[in-house]
């Protein structure tokens, strides 16, 4: 085959060049945006790196014992995070026990039962709850919630359940119970908002099929709608758990901040976030500081795992729609 003689291509006119895909402006634009976007992964790397480096002395010193030792003695230089880990998990679980029925109730009411006119306003009010700063919740908790618990809630609880180890001891106010209740109030709007989006994503045909079979609306919700969205609802709950685990200010102000592991919810406890908030500026030795960094690292790892789990579950239900990410 002989090559055809190729004539030199005349230089394209400037007008044409502008029309073809890439020009200088495009490259600069894309480059700038890429740099801005890459900031995020770099930030995460820096964050993790910094935490690990700062926590390293404590990690090397205490090894895995850090997780199950309950001594926290800055003077002797012995640190174990067990009470905080326990307190963090216990207060968050307590919050879930209170918040889950409430927020699922709100979500189901708003999507299935509420009159059309009140749906938007109520949903908006619930979202506003999420906008209230944590420290304001703390303030309210100290001056309103604790007196209320002391006067109205704890005495009857003690009468009915006083024989269990969970309601043992004297109630001074600042306690696991107070921390758990304030956390519950704070995570209701998150769980309710995401659950509502999940329920809205359930196709109408599911509902109609159940109703067509003669189910009441109540039965339709429980036999068709909720099971269909189950993974997403669990995701919403875990997302709430993630919030509760990392919540700092309100809990610090209410939970009592005592390095103790006890079953009674009436007793003071401690959380990881609260420990950092309280002790970080008082950490006098490098080891002390490093131990607090290790607490921070643990908290970070736990919340990342919990959030990743939640997201996977929500994506399963709402593949292709923007559910979940939007509510945040």
């Amino acid at each position: 085959m002989t090559a055809l003689p190729i004539e030199p291509v005349p230089a394209p006119e400037p007008r044409w060049r502008a029309l073809r895909g890439v020009n200088a402006g495009d490259r600069i634009y894309r480059g700038t945006l890429t740099v801005l976007a890459v900031t995020l992964p770099l930030l995460l790397l820096a964050l993790v790196g910094e935490l690990v480096v700062s926590a390293w002395p404590a990690i090397r010193r205490f090894g895995p014992h850090f997780l199950w030792t309950s001594v926290w003695d800055p003077v002797a230089g012995v640190f174990g995070a067990a009470p905080m880990i326990f307190g963090t998990i216990a207060s968050s679980l307590l919050a879930l026990v209170i918040a889950v029925p409430l927020s699922l109730g709100v979500a189901i009411f708003l999507t299935e039962f509420a009159p059309k006119r009140v749906r938007q306003p109520i949903a908006f009010l619930v979202e506003l709850l999420a906008a209230i700063p944590s420290v304001v919740y703390g303030l309210w908790g100290v001056f309103v919630l604790i007196p209320f618990l002391r006067a109205q809630v704890v005495p009857p609880l003690r009468v009915v359940l006083g024989w269990t180890p969970f309601f043992d001891g004297v109630f001074y106010g600042n306690s696991l119970l107070a921390g758990g209740v304030i956390l519950a109030i704070m995570i209701v709007p998150y769980i309710a908002a995401v659950s509502r989006e999940v329920l809205l994503a359930v196709p109408g045909s599911q509902r109609e099929a159940a109703l067509g079979m003669g189910a009441t609306r109540w039965e339709a919700v429980w036999t068709a709608v909720v099971p269909y969205g189950r993974a997403g609802l669990i995701g919403a709950i875990i997302l709430g758990l993630g919030r509760a685990l990392g919540e700092t200010m309100a809990v610090t102000m209410l939970i009592g901040n005592r390095h103790d592991i006890g079953l009674s919810v009436l007793q003071p406890a401690y959380t990881m976030a609260a420990a950092i908030a309280n002790e970080f500026s008082e950490a006098t030795t490098n080891l002390y500081l490093s131990a607090l960094f290790e607490v921070g690292l643990l908290l970070f790892v736990i919340t990342v795992v919990v959030n990743a789990l939640a997201r996977l579950l929500i994506w399963q239900v709402a593949r292709g729609t923007a559910v979940g990410s939007r509510a945040l």
Binding site: A18, L19, N23, G25, D26, Y29, R30, T32, L33, T34, L36, A37, V38, T39, L40, P41, L43, L44, A46, L47, E50, L51, S54, F124, E127, L128, A131, I132, P133, S134, V135, V136, G138, L139, F143, G242, L245, G246, E247, T248, M249, M253, A273, I276, A277, F280, S281, G296, L299, F300, T303, V304, V306, N307, A308, R311, A322, S325, R326, L328
Partner: protein, 234 residues
């Protein structure tokens, strides 16, 4: 509009904290808004590849990071090398909280812009970057403003990241390299303090802060409702 007085005296105000919150949050916006919106535009316009996936995932991870962890990170990064607490470090911590959220919401807002608009602009010979900025981003503007307001509302009330960065200050200052008071920090100090007078001031500061945050939230909501031309945003 007064500055605080020593404990035990009556009167006093939170003027320094109101100004401090304004400065710290404003500075955080200066840092956070361009990065957040830029990253969001990247995700919406070029984010289909592997880098887009990574950035999206990282934004979600950072979104769930406890704010106190961001606080100690900012401390090691800025306060420790500089040798003293500063409002600037507080702003950086708040910006770190704001960016991932803003990136994701901006992306969603920009994605709502109909493809036909983009195609029309490209067909008229607009280069991609001008299409993106002048047509797509412009159409999504109301949405982007909304997500910015929501972001600002979220960081305005944050306390935990400021504890070890801005620290708080009893005096009035506008110097961003000095420790600075913020409303949220002031509420924390006053609420946990032993004086009745402090408790009253804490409630007063809380009302101011709540007013600010709720105003932002309502403004964000009304920006959504008005919507941009062409009904591109929800």
């Amino acid at each position: 509009m007064k500055n605080p007085v020593p404990a035990g005296e009556s009167g006093g105000g939170v003027a320094n904290a109101i100004v401090g919150t304004g400065i710290i949050v404003g500075l955080a916006c200066l840092i956070g808004l361009p990065v957040g919106i830029g990253a969001g535009l990247y995700l919406a316009e070029f984010g289909s590849g592997r880098l887009g996936w990574i950035v999206r995932f990282v934004a979600d991870v950072l979104n769930g990071t406890p704010s106190i962890v961001v606080g100690i990170f900012a401390w090691t990064w800025l306060v420790k090398p500089m040798g003293h607490f500063s409002a600037l470090a507080g702003s950086v911590a708040l910006a770190i909280l704001m960016v991932p959220m803003l990136a994701r919401t901006t992306e969603e807002m920009v994605r709502l812009v109909p493809h036909s608009l983009r195609e029309a602009a490209l067909a008229l010979g607009y280069p991609r970057w001008r299409t993106s900025l002048r047509i797509v981003a412009r159409t999504a503007l109301a949405g982007i403003v909304t997500s910015s307001l929501v972001g600002v509302a979220r960081i305005a009330g944050e306390t935990a990241p400021l504890l070890f960065t801005a620290l708080g200050n009893l005096n009035f200052t506008t110097h961003i390299l000095e420790p600075m008071q913020a409303l949220s920090l002031q509420i924390y100090t006053y609420a946990t303090g032993p004086f009745d007078e402090w408790h009253r001031l804490a409630w007063a500061a809380a009302i101011v802060l709540m007013g600010l945050v709720l105003l932002l939230a309502v403004a964000a909501r009304s920006a959504i409702r008005q919507g941009p031309p062409h009904g591109a945003a929800r």
